[in-house]
Symmetry: C2
Subunit: 449 residues, 2 copies
């Protein structure tokens, strides 16, 4: 049992008996991420009461950690005053994310609750393209002037720090807000107090543009182990930062996208429950439709071989086994190569090494599975020649399937297409066609059918 | 073209002409992660020369970013003195990771190069279980005494900070090194200089044990947005920390493991090239072997239906299409559910909601694909009854396949098994069996075969 389930009955009782003091004393001690776990166990009206006893900062922090559809539901239960408080207290990037998910009419209503400054900012952030750096950045960063001394900088950090998303990486700007350098709090702490920021900052700043894809920011933070990354506009003016904790979420999103692609799905949203039903279905049906058309080729081939098939109907018994084995090993090798390409472990240049490895692996696994299929067929039908036909076919299809699975993503990468599109379903369909040809050509020769 | 490929010819020329000054002036300006990109383009002997012009800290930082097999290769080219320098300069966690990958005899040789203190530490770290928190932690953290004042703490940080992996989260310990609290540099900076650390620290410390799985540390850092996490021994003494940048690597490793499981592989190493050939093959062949045995059931079923099949051989033409469609949609729905379970978006309690959604999606997609299959079959054979049989079968198999793919991971989670084991190959094999039954039972009724 999860720890927070122990709390639930007690919490529900405190809510029922309107013991807000007791409720507050429990929730106050907890991390917002833990409060979210507990709140998920409650009914909507109970959730509203639980939120009531939290202080302003904690409300906003906890609220931001909910899923968008949970936020949407709760907003309907909150009073206008409470909604305003939460929106004001949320950090700009969390606010953008929330408003992003709400229906346009609701967004308009909520934006009206905000003071002009926050409203303008929210509008600007919401206008950046979806999944862009501008859309996920926060505007709560520490900016220093290049001519500040270290002690002045520390004073500035102490004054503005409490509201900032991070104070550990500070950005130096000139009077036009142009980004000039980056300086870590570590460097500031370790420097002499009268040194100028311009002397200790690093002018070699890695930055992204507001319109760049969020994935680019994620890659840079991963590669360089940054805690945050500055975002600039087209004139190189600092407008926001993206922090490492947001990157973990972005990485998970991108991974989910890859998982979906590899199962032949192109979903507009990465969340399971969030996507609308028809978007969900249409993102899934397109590939399935193409693949079922492609499967017509398998049918045509079987028709071509129908004479062999009807003279020896037992050949049909092993078609699912044969195509299954080929498809399965193809799914394995394509997954291995796609994943190694995604993590950067494998580059296109190493194609020959991959080929060598997969020919050997395919031959060895093919031998094992082919021999197994031979034994199965012999036990099944007590006919050695059919056993040999099935065994040799399985071995060949496994070898070919393994190679096809490994090569196809490399070809996609070479053509500058996303290798993750090489889904297991696509490989399976390719192998169905080649597997049928291999099987019946071998059978024709060995069994004279 | 990648930016670093532009540098390569120039760099090679500088190395050829032994212009170390020019070489150094280029490399000095670059981030270690960028130097790694460049160095990968060079020949081994050129790599050694490129490393020679880097200063000590940068050598160790750059070296740590290489893949283990690249490190291993380079170590063979370096002089003993250079190896010693690098090992000494590396942070303890990077050193453990390197030694971890080397053959035992080489490790012994390298450990002898280190002074006793570092050698003992390396031995302790190497003795923690693989993939445990102890194995990936670093011992370079900032520890404060609870009775220190804020200004004393700042002095201590300034003195010890330069060597530490992070100074942004500091850990308060008592005289027995027992972990008492955590305090961020932000809190220290914002506090009054005469306050005691014990007053501003948070005693509610989330920590992991040295023997806990690294994944637990990764989950905590993701959930609570920590920059680092303390690691304690069985007596609650602070022995190390794990930092957020290491977590990004761990997350990628765990994701790769999930990808592999979902393609029916259980590989001992997540890296494509690193795993030994036989480990690689054995990790892949086990599931394939089980699945080919399971495919015997499909064969047995087809034997049972052989009378229908031989009286109407055209039925065989549509077997790959039918089983393909069922397998593909099963791969989709299982991937969706497994991934939603992994990210925590979906919990077991929501099973009814999943079922409703997948029944609707399966029915709709089944109708589309069934109608497509009907058209294909009619064009193919000009026989409406066969067309209807194929169409209805495809629609039914798609609906069933979709449900099977969605339910199986939920059942695995309910049984406390890892849902990621529900691979596309497993689902495909299940659907092969049910698909054949559905197809021939429908055909028997509709076509009287």
């Amino acid at each position: 049992m999860k720890w927070y389930k122990i709390f639930t009955p007690e919490l529900k009782e405190l809510i029922d008996s309107k013991n807000f003091k007791g409720l507050s004393s429990i929730l106050r001690e907890l991390h917002p991420a833990d409060i979210v776990d507990i709140i998920r166990e409650l009914e909507p009206t109970e959730k509203v009461i639980a939120f009531r006893v939290l202080d302003k900062t904690k409300i906003a922090e906890t609220f931001s950690l909910l899923h968008p559809e949970e936020e949407e539901e709760l907003l309907r239960y909150f009073t206008e005053q409470r909604v305003k408080e939460i929106l004001l207290e949320m950090s700009p990037d969390d606010r953008t994310q929330l408003l992003d998910e709400l229906p346009a009419s609701v967004v308009k209503k909520h934006l009206k609750l905000l003071p002009k400054e926050e409203r303008d900012e929210a509008n600007i952030l919401l206008n950046y393209p979806p999944q862009s750096a501008g859309r996920v950045m926060t505007t709560e960063y520490v900016d220093l002037k290049t001519e500040m001394s270290v002690s002045e900088a520390l004073e500035h950090i102490k004054k503005t720090g409490p509201d900032r998303e991070t104070i550990y990486t500070c950005y130096a700007i000139d009077e036009k807000r142009i980004l000039c350098g980056v300086v870590s709090l570590k460097d500031i702490i370790l420097a002499e107090s009268d040194q100028k920021i311009s002397k200790i900052m690093n002018e070699n700043v890695y930055k992204v543009n507001t319109t760049d894809d969020q994935e680019e920011a994620a890659k840079a933070i991963q590669k360089y182990d940054f805690l945050s990354l500055p975002v600039v506009d087209s004139e190189n003016r600092l407008v926001g930062i993206i922090t490492v904790d947001d990157i973990l979420d972005i990485v998970q999103e991108e991974v989910t996208e890859d998982f979906h692609k590899m199962a032949a799905m192109q979903l507009p949203e990465e969340k399971y429950f969030h996507a609308g039903f028809f978007k969900h279905v249409s993102g899934r049906v397109i590939w399935l439709f193409v693949l079922i058309l492609a499967a017509t080729i398998s049918g045509k081939l079987l028709q071509k071989y129908s004479l062999s098939l009807s003279s020896m109907i037992v050949l049909a018994y092993f078609i699912p086994m044969l195509l299954g084995a080929g498809g399965n090993i193809g799914a394995q090798s394509s997954t291995l190569v796609i994943r190694a390409l995604a993590t950067g472990e494998l580059t296109l240049r190493q194609w020959a090494k991959v080929l060598r490895k997969e020919v050997c692996a395919g031959a060895l696994i093919g031998t094992v599975l082919g021999f197994t299929a031979f034994i199965i067929a012999v036990i099944f039908l007590r006919d050695t020649m059919i056993g040999i036909t099935v065994g040799v076919s399985v071995a060949t299809v496994v070898l070919v399937g393994n190679l096809a699975g490994a090569i196809t993503p490399l070809i996609f990468r070479y053509l500058r297409l996303d290798p993750a599109i090489v889904s297991a379903p696509l490989i399976t369909t390719i192998i169905d066609v080649t597997g049928i040809i291999i099987y019946f050509e071998i059978a024709r020769r060995m069994l004279n059918v």
